[in-house]
Subunit: 133 residues, 2 copies
């Protein structure tokens, strides 16, 4: 039987729910990815985030390739039950497969253009063999 | 012509993109909602968040009913261009239509159950006439 927590969640027609990942220490939003029910159960059991990759159609433990695992600290869900928020301890230097701390490294500027506002903290070519995480 | 910022974004098959709303002061994640391209343009023009309601199929300026507007401070997008993060100044006492500061007021506890970890900061019945925001 599902845990009561999971029963409250509404997965979409593809069986997915968006999951916001936030750094528990600094409050930085690191990324957004998707889980199905099984990925959520694996996340809870493993204590590390596990997502469903929509493009590769497979389970994906964040950090399995890079070592940049996300240790689950707190799990929340929203009023509508259709979004999850997980606060994590981010291992390694960053969450983003492009080598930044956060995936949200591009910021809109007044002209309507954008700029990169974070420094690269690691070299993705050295960290990812397939650069797919 | 679209701003360069918008050209980088990937809207899904329904023309939508998920938008994480974060309090710029305390870093609290307040909610997640969806924008289409027009809602994003309205958000930028207005300086207040405007979403597309998937259930009501209409544009929806957050705060139009409650007064709890979200003043846009910073807009980011992620490495894949399929998620937006907006940092806001949250007006009023809270973002959640159930009367909490954040929509993520329920937290998983060890038993697999959950508990409400925020205090209600306003009475939704008094703030929302239709309770639909």
């Amino acid at each position: 039987m599902d845990m009561m927590f999971i029963q409250k969640l509404k997965f979409d027609r593809k069986g997915l729910i968006p999951v916001i990942i936030q750094d528990i220490n600094k409050g930085k939003v690191l990324m957004l990815a998707y889980m199905n029910k099984e990925a959520l159960k694996r996340t809870i059991k493993l204590g590390k985030t596990c997502f469903w990759s929509r493009s590769r159609k497979k389970y994906w433990v964040k950090g399995e390739e890079s070592g940049n695992y996300q240790i689950v600290k707190e799990i929340y869900f929203d009023c509508d039950g259709d979004t999850i928020l997980i606060k994590v301890k981010q291992l390694g230097k960053g969450a983003c497969h492009e080598g930044y701390r956060s995936c949200f490294f591009r910021k809109m500027i007044k002209s309507g253009n954008y700029k990169i506002i974070e420094k690269k903290v690691f070299d993705p070519k050295k960290v990812y063999k397939r650069n797919t995480e």
